[in-house]
Each structure stands twice: as C-alpha cells, then as structure tokens.
C-alpha cells in the first residue's frame, strides 16, 4: 500500500469522525495536514461535507432542540421573513425624501424638510419584522381606527396656484396595451350588477369597460401598477392604464409610482405616490382622504374653487361639493374605507397548496384570481397582461428559472428529436417524445369567480372557443384550473414549499382533461388531437397519461412524495403531429401537506 493510499484511508476515517462530530483537536490538526498536502484529499473532503449537508437538507427539520445541522434556524427562515427594511449600511444608498409639513396657523405656506429615506425606518422596522405579521397588522389597524379621524379633522389641505393637470408625466399612458386594468382579488360576498356578464379570461378590462359591483370588495390592478379597492355598491370605469372614473361608491387607491388619476363628477384626484380614499355621493359630492403621501385635487364644476389645485398630504381630508366648492369641515370617516381585502376566504390552515395560486404568482394560499407565465421568458407574462392574444405561438425549446415566485422553480418548452431538456434548477434533464418544439400561449391559471363568466367566443389568447368549457369546469372547482397547451411544462420546488410552510409535502393530485373545442369543428380529426401528460420527480418519471383525447373526460392523477423529493415537474406534450386543439387543463392541482411535522417541530 502506498503512502498516498494510506493517507486517503486515514482521511476517510477522519472525515467519518468529522461527520459524526467526534473529531478531537489532534485529529483535526491531522486532517488539516492531510488536506494541505493533496488536491485529491481536498476534493474528497468537499465530497464528505456535501454528503453531510446534502442529507441534512434533503428533508424538513423536525427537532428544534438537538440538531447537528439545524435546518429551521434563524438563517434558514430569514429569506421568508426577510425584512423590507433591513438595517442600513454604508453600502446602502439613502435617497432623500421631501416631506411637506403643514400647520393650521400657516395654511398657505409650505415647509419642506429632508429626512433620509428608509435608513431610519429600516433600523426601526427591522426588529418589528420578527413579530408575527398579524400582530403588526392589528396594531396598525387599531392606530388607524383610533387616530386617523382626529388627524383628518385637524389638518386641512394647502391651496396652491392652479397647475396644468396635463403637465404631469404618466409613463403608463405610453404603454401600448389592449387592456387598462384587471381584477386581482375579491371578497367572497361580491356580487355583480350583471350576473353572467362575460369578462376576459384573465379578468382584464379594456378602457371604458365599466365594472358594476353590488356587494363586496373588489381589488383592481392597473397596467401602471396602481391598485385600487372598490367598495360596493360601486360603478367604476378604467379610463386608461393609469386612470379611472368613479361614478358611485368608495375607492381606496394606492400607487407607489405616483401619477394615478381618478375622475369623479365633482373632482379630479391625482395621486402623486400615495394611498388615499375617495367616496362619491350624488348629494354631498366627492370626499377625498389621504392616508399616506401626497394627492392633488382639482374641483371640476364651475364654482369658487374651480381650477384650483388643492395639495393634500397625509392625514388631510376635503369634500368637493357638486357646485365646485372645497369644504374642509365635514365628518371624515377614514374607518369607512377598506384598505385591504381577504380575497375569497383565508386558507392559511389548509393542507392543500394550490398550484393554481402558485401559477398566479402566489405562495399557494394567497387566493390570487388569475395569472400567467410566458414559458419563453419565465416572466409573469407582460404579453398576456397587455395583449388580447397573450403570448401567442412560441417556437423553439426554452428553459427558464423562476425568480418571482419561490414555490415555482422553472418553466420550459421541451426539445424535440431526443435531445434532453433541463426541467429544474437542480439540472435534472428529461427526454420527451414531442413532435414539435412549439406551444401556444402562456401557462395560465384561473380561480372560479362567482357571477363572472369568462368570454369564450372566437379565438382567444389560448385556444379557439375553449373558454366556454373552461368556464363550465371552473364553476365546480375548489381551487381553479391551470392551462397547459401541449409542449410546455413547469417545475415546483418542493423544498421551498417545505421550508416556507414548515411541513412535509406528501403528494400531488390533480384531475386532467383535454378541453379542446374540436367537437364543434367537423374538419378536425379527433384521432389526431391527442395530448400526453407526465409527472416527473427530480427528473424521474413517476406517472403518465398518454394519448389523452377529449372523450376520455376527467382523468385523476396522483403521485405520492417522500421527504427526499426535491422538485416535481408537470409537462404536457403533443401526442400527434401538431399542437392544434391540444388544450390540456389541470383541474384543482394541489400539493398535499402534512402539517403534523410542523406541530412536532414547534412542540
């Protein structure tokens, strides 16, 4: 036996002892000596460390008290609880924020002071982020309820010289879009004035399409990024990618980028980067309350304040009467404005992680209503957002890691001709027998929305006439459906789910069905509209349903998962020569969670 092989044998023994945490000082010094003398020894050493860390990382941590390699440690949890405002550092730029300060004795004068933006706030908020979110939310809510009415009565807006509204720059207005806004949330008690009215599949609204809400709360996002909450009864019309008109009801607006413009009969409200509430009443006029930031209000009707610009900052309130007067002495009621909503129930305690919500950009429990991802870019598809045709036809294989939504790992369009396609961030590759490396449209998802039917006539962004059937299926779903046109797939990071939910993932379940509308198209041969569906775990095929046709109806798919499983991949491929009429849907696709592992860890 050579000296080198003796060293390697000794090295293995030392490394075993290291992995078993029984390496004394003498042995440690010997280990360092061997490593310093040989590259091969260094490589072996790294292999051992990877082995120990790799196993520890392959399953969720259970025992919090006695662990060699703690997994649910503070550092592990940090990413999900990562504060928005961590302590500042020298490397952290602290842009200055100009804040208007007014007092009642000098209403006409505007003072400005400069404070470092975020740096102090970050330092203060950092420890707060360690507390449960709900606790802080409750505290903030309490403060709003107790303190805000007083503040709103105490402060009055500053009247400044008229300014041309048109001079405001509105980047969103320059965006080319077929749509202005979309519904992103609603409460379960929401009803609509025209039940059964057809809306776009992704709940998008074009300019001048009016929304009538009879009861409940509806959250709307504009192309510009501004978000508003409509409080029923309300009539609201998006008038552009960054503007809307409120004819009736209450609205709370939030635009981090500023320059959101709301029009009522009595006033024009220009959001300069803030949160505000607006209530419209035919008799009293338009009430404007500012919760945060700065707003400009311009009375529209001819009257004493016509054309004047009222600058309002946090805590101020004003009423613009139908005759064009600005009134400041009125009982402002900030508590009457809903500044957040719980969309379609709270599923925090649920043991079913909805993949519909994940595709919509959520964590599986956020109850998002609709969403889509472009398989060619891995982005929440701006094409889908902005264009009626969505992502359109996608040619050529693609693989994209997902960074906008932690449970989602990757999306891909497979290669053809036996070439392996990477399907996850671990580098696992699979070979798929698809005939074309092309798909149509995005990977999309939709929850059921009571009273809002999806328009399904003609050729839409996914398939011809398919949404008639999707709509029917949606009515009886618990979580919703995901659309996978042939030759596209996505991978979910099971480890991220375990870490985020602090529990184990025991299985995947879904019902799959081909909803192609070829039944109405005699020219299409049903035998040639076939789709394959496969489920892989860490690149290994776990189950498949091949040559699915519409007549097969609902097909249940289930895969059990173990603690060592890292990634689950769902992929559809064309089973014939083309992707025409290959609209496969996953109905109520879920990951099943075992939360008993969580209770074990907290005991």
């Amino acid at each position: 036996m050579t000296a080198a092989s003796d060293d390697m044998k000794e090295l293995d023994e030392l490394l075993q002892r290291m992995c078993d945490s029984c390496l004394d000082a003498v042995a440690a010094a010997r280990l360092a000596e061997i490593l310093a003398s040989s590259k091969a020894a260094q490589r072996r050493y790294i292999e051992y460390m990877d082995y120990c860390i790799g196993i520890a990382h392959a399953l969720p941590g259970i025992d919090e008290n006695d662990r060699l390699l703690p997994r649910q440690s503070a550092s592990t949890i940090l990413p999900f609880d990562a504060p928005r405002y961590p302590p500042s550092s020298a490397a952290d730029p602290t842009p200055m924020l100009s804040v208007a300060v007014n007092d009642r004795t000098r209403l006409s004068r505007k003072q400005t002071i400069s404070i470092p933006r975020f740096s102090l706030l970050r330092s203060l908020l950092y420890p707060m982020t360690r507390a449960p979110l709900r606790m802080w939310a409750a505290a903030v809510l309490l403060l709003c309820l107790l303190g805000a009415p007083w503040m709103l009565r105490a402060l009055r807006p500053v009247v400044v010289q008229p300014a041309p509204v048109e001079s405001l720059t509105a980047d969103a207005a320059n965006l080319e879009s077929d749509f202005a806004a979309r519904i992103i949330g609603m409460t379960s008690d929401t009803t609509w004035e025209n039940p059964g009215a057809k809306v776009d599949a992704l709940l998008r609204f074009k300019t001048h399409e009016t929304i009538h809400v009879l009861t409940g709360l509806v959250r709307i996002e504009f192309v510009s990024g501004a978000k508003v909450i409509l409080q029923a009864p309300a009539v609201f019309t998006p008038t552009g990618p960054d503007s809307g008109q409120l004819d009736r009801g209450r609205l709370t607006g939030k635009a981090t980028n500023g320059n959101f413009r709301l029009t009522t009969k009595a006033a024009e409200v220009i959001d300069l980067g803030t949160e505000f509430g607006v209530a419209v009443d035919d008799v009293t006029g338009t009430d404007v309350l500012v919760f945060d930031g700065e707003v400009e209000v311009v009375p529209r009707a001819a009257g004493p304040d016509a054309g004047r610009v009222l600058k309002m900052t946090e805590g101020m309130a004003a009423r613009i009467t139908p005759t064009g007067s600005a009134v400041h002495d009125f009982p402002a009621e900030p508590g009457g404005f809903s500044r957040s909503i719980t969309s379609l129930g709270n599923r925090d305690k649920d043991n079913e992680l909805s993949l519909v919500d994940v595709i919509c950009g959520g964590n599986g429990f956020d109850n998002n209503l609709a969403g889509a991802i472009d398989p060619r870019t891995g982005k929440p598809d701006s094409g889908v957002w902005l264009r009626s045709w969505g992502a359109g036809r996608r040619k050529g294989a693609a693989f994209n890691l997902i960074t906008h939504c932690p449970p989602l790992d990757a999306v891909f369009i497979p290669f053809i001709g036996g070439e392996a396609t990477q399907v996850d961030s671990l580098g696992n590759k699979i070979v798929l027998p698809c005939f074309t490396s092309q798909t149509f449209g995005p990977i999309w998802a939709r929850r059921s929305t009571k009273g809002l039917d999806t328009a399904g006539e003609g050729i839409d962004f996914w398939g011809p006439d398919t949404f008639k059937d999707v709509n029917q299926r949606l009515q009886s779903t618990r979580h919703g459906v995901i659309g996978l046109q042939a030759n596209v797939g996505f991978t979910v990071d099971l480890q991220a789910v375990r870490m985020r939910q602090h529990c184990d993932v025991t299985g995947f379940e879904a019902v799959i069905a081909l909803l192609a509308a070829y039944k109405d198209r005699q020219q299409r041969d049903p035998a040639k509209t076939l789709v394959d569906f496969r489920v892989y775990v860490d690149g290994v095929l776990r189950t498949s349903r091949l040559s699915i046709k519409r007549a097969d109806g609902d097909i249940r798919v289930a895969v059990s998962l173990t603690p060592v499983d890292q990634r689950i991949t769902l992929v559809s491929t064309d089973a014939d020569e083309s992707i025409l009429f290959d609209e496969l849907v996953l109905i109520d696709p879920i990951l099943m969670l075992d939360r008993s592992t969580r209770s074990q860890s907290s005991e």
């Binding site: 390496l23 082995y51 196993i55 392959a58 399953l59 025992d63 550092s75 592990t76 940090l78 860490d538």
Partner: protein, 182 residues
C-alpha cells in the same frame, strides 16, 4: 464599456437565497471545517448580500450560477472575518487552505452538484430502515447516543451502521456518476 448586467429585486433575491441555501451552507461548512457555527457565518453572509443586492449584476446567461458565485465570495470574506474575530481556533484551517478549498468548490461546482443529484437518487434506493437511520442522524440531528438508546443498540453498533450506509451511498454516487460519464 461593459453593458449593464441584469440586476435583481428583493423578491428575486429571496427566491434565489432559498433555492441556493444548501450550496451556501455547504460552502461555509467546507471552509469552516466544522458544522457548528455555520448559521452565524451564513446569516452574516446573507445580511451583507442583502445590503449589497444593488451591486449584484449578472453578465452571463447562467444567472443562478453567477448569483451563487457572488454569494460564496461574500461568504468567503465573512468567514475570514469570523476567523479573525474569534481566533484561528474557531476555524479548522489556515487562510491558504481556506482559499484553496474555496477555489476548488467554485471551479468544480458542476461536479459537486452532480454528486448532490446522485445522492438524492441514492437516498431513495436505501431501505426504509437505513434511510430513517441516516435521516435521524443528519436530518433530524439526533446524537448517536440518542439513536443507540432508542434502538436499544450499542454506540459502536450505531457508528458501524452509519459507516456502512455512508459507504453504500458513496459507492452509489460514484456508480451513478460513472454511468453519466462524469
């Protein structure tokens, strides 16, 4: 002049941290030479990375790999700072060896990632009893003493069983890599 690279926002940052947590921990453990105190160094590295997030810019097509390299570079400095702060006794190796190990980890990242993928598959091939044992020790972090008491076996018996399983897993990993042509 260089083209500006792709940067990351806070959501992407969190997603990337989660995805590559294992690699960062393995990197730190390798340089530290022990499993204790990994958390402290990793946590410091994350906080520094968070503060310097704006300075990260990816110029290659392999966004994830470049992020991991950037993160590991931060962790390397944090470990050296940790060594200076706590004394060389807290870190097993001298600075030269630390640098050598760090370089090897980065240069041969593909190889080590292949081994990890193989390990995951090999874990599935273990008998349920062996898998439970290895998870008890390295996943749930039970001490060998605890395992011996629970199983009613001797300490030596548990050590030998863990050694046997480790040998089998290493053989399985090596065999898998040979089949892949690595």
């Amino acid at each position: 002049m260089n083209e500006p690279g792709r940067q990351i926002n806070s959501d992407e940052f969190v997603a990337l941290l989660v995805r590559h947590e294992r690699r960062l921990r393995a990197f730190v453990a390798t340089l530290l030479g022990r499993f204790e105190d990994i958390d402290e160094v990793v946590q410091n590295a994350w906080l520094v990375a968070w503060r310097k997030m704006d300075s990260f810019s990816c110029h290659s097509t392999n966004f994830d790999e470049e992020f991991v390299r950037w993160l590991c570079a931060i962790a390397r400095f944090e470990l050296l700072a940790y060594r200076r702060k706590n004394g060389p006794g807290m870190v097993l190796f001298d600075e030269e060896l630390i640098e050598n190990l760090a370089d090897m980890r980065i240069e041969q990242a593909d190889y080590f990632e292949s081994r990890h993928r193989a390990l995951l598959n090999c874990l599935r091939r273990l008998s349920p009893r062996d898998r439970e044992m290895v998870f008890d020790r390295y996943g749930r972090g039970k001490s060998v003493q605890q395992m011996a008491t629970t199983a009613g076996r001797s300490l030596d018996g548990i050590y030998k069983s863990l050694g046997r399983i480790r040998t089998a897993l290493f053989a399985c990993i090596d065999s898998s890599l040979k089949q892949e042509g690595c």
